[in-house]
Symmetry: C2
Subunit: 286 residues, 2 copies
Amino acid sequence: MFFGDARAISPLIRGTKHEAVHAPRLLEVDDPLRATLRGGVDSSMHAAIRAIAGDNADAAVSAGSTGGLMALSRHLIGTLPGIRRPAIVKTLAGEGERRFRMLDLGANIGVGPAQLHQFALMGCAAASADGVQEPAVALLNIGSELRKGPRSVRAAANLLADDARLRYAGYIEPDRMFGSSLDVVVVDGYVGNIALKAAEGAVRMAHYLLGRELANAAASGQVVERLQRVRDAYNPQRYNGAALLGLNKVVVKSHGGADRQGFANAVAQAIQALSAALVAQIAARA
Amino acid sequence: MFFGDARAISPLIRGTKHEAVHAPRLLEVDDPLRATLRGGVDSSMHAAIRAIAGDNADAAVSAGSTGGLMALSRHLIGTLPGIRRPAIVKTLAGEGERRFRMLDLGANIGVGPAQLHQFALMGCAAASADGVQEPAVALLNIGSELRKGPRSVRAAANLLADDARLRYAGYIEPDRMFGSSLDVVVVDGYVGNIALKAAEGAVRMAHYLLGRELANAAASGQVVERLQRVRDAYNPQRYNGAALLGLNKVVVKSHGGADRQGFANAVAQAIQALSAALVAQIAARA
């Protein structure tokens, strides 16, 4: 089901099984929360979340405002028992064929130890849903020594170490997480969002330098092709799609600047979450 | 003056004007603060900081523990009037020939608005010492809208906007800071350290992918050379050296894994800080 301006959508899906739902208003990032929740009923995001809340659809994918998506999801779908607030999780590429999950990436700012502990449980459930057995989980910090970092992270370390359901691997520094054998990295939402965007910015910077040098080089077609592959391997589009964990339903946030491939990846992630029964896995763990 | 095991140092500097000072004990990262301050008098770091505190030397460069260097510097040298705690600043490469400064990178965890404001003043003084006129300063945050981010950052935004001495440019997201025209980026020490290490880790990851692809490619010598240049342009060694701002003297921290070139860059940074009268610039501004 496609939610938006049906006059624009219908011609694109004619002759398919897809359905256009007319909900033409677009929520803006700057819309106040109250307007989103109360006045936003004619918005495409409100209509889409209503559809999964009413069991007319199994999962929702949106490239709209993260704050709006989070607020509407909590309000209309609700969180699983015991979950205070959902967290945003993303799967990132490590060295080799390795993948790891990082959360929270921006939904929860200034969280305490209990919430970091809950992120660890939800992240491990997501890893299990991806087929990882006994996932290893670490806390993002600025050193590996026990006394490093903010009080909340140090207190969370005790909670994670004491929880027999978790395979706790200690602190991880962000420069090591890509090369580690971790499955889940846990962090406060403000810090996690900063870390993710710093990594993206640095890679973009490396690409800029690469492009400048290659423009001057007599590179063979084969080399250019391989370098393009490197660039693609870290293309955010390829890893587009962040799941909102802790809700009663599957909701995936796509990047606002996603292209066709990126949005398709976000949809594929929603389908994968459904077939792996991600919500039930989290309900059982957290 | 070289501080350490004089038996090892002396043969290396024979016939030069350099001097070896015998202070053979090495402070460990795990040494408790009390041991560093009281019991560490025979350590090389303690001896070096004593030398600048006693005006026997103008600046100190150390590749030892950041925590130890910060504690000894505060204890033996002291901070400038009005500075509560020093901040760690580093100059990073942006696109083109642009450079920008980022602070704090790990000395102060969980800081409030007043301290972020002070970081902005010190960072702008450092930019001025580098020859930047009317430096533009921004706060690192997870969005550009005013209501984004932690309370401390939002409150700091008001302080920076109201300070006529500053050219305040608003919030900057870390994926945009490399391509922006900013001169100073201000952030809490925990978050700044995470952002820096996430950027380093992502670049290392890109290099890993690059190396893997190039190993399989029939790359010409010229192309390999240019790619090496890209790697070097983001080599942390080249930007090695973080200044401790807010002290009565020049203290520069080198990365513990610095090579010859990296350590030389840290020394060059200390010399540049002296010739630009960095301490006086900060005293005048902060």
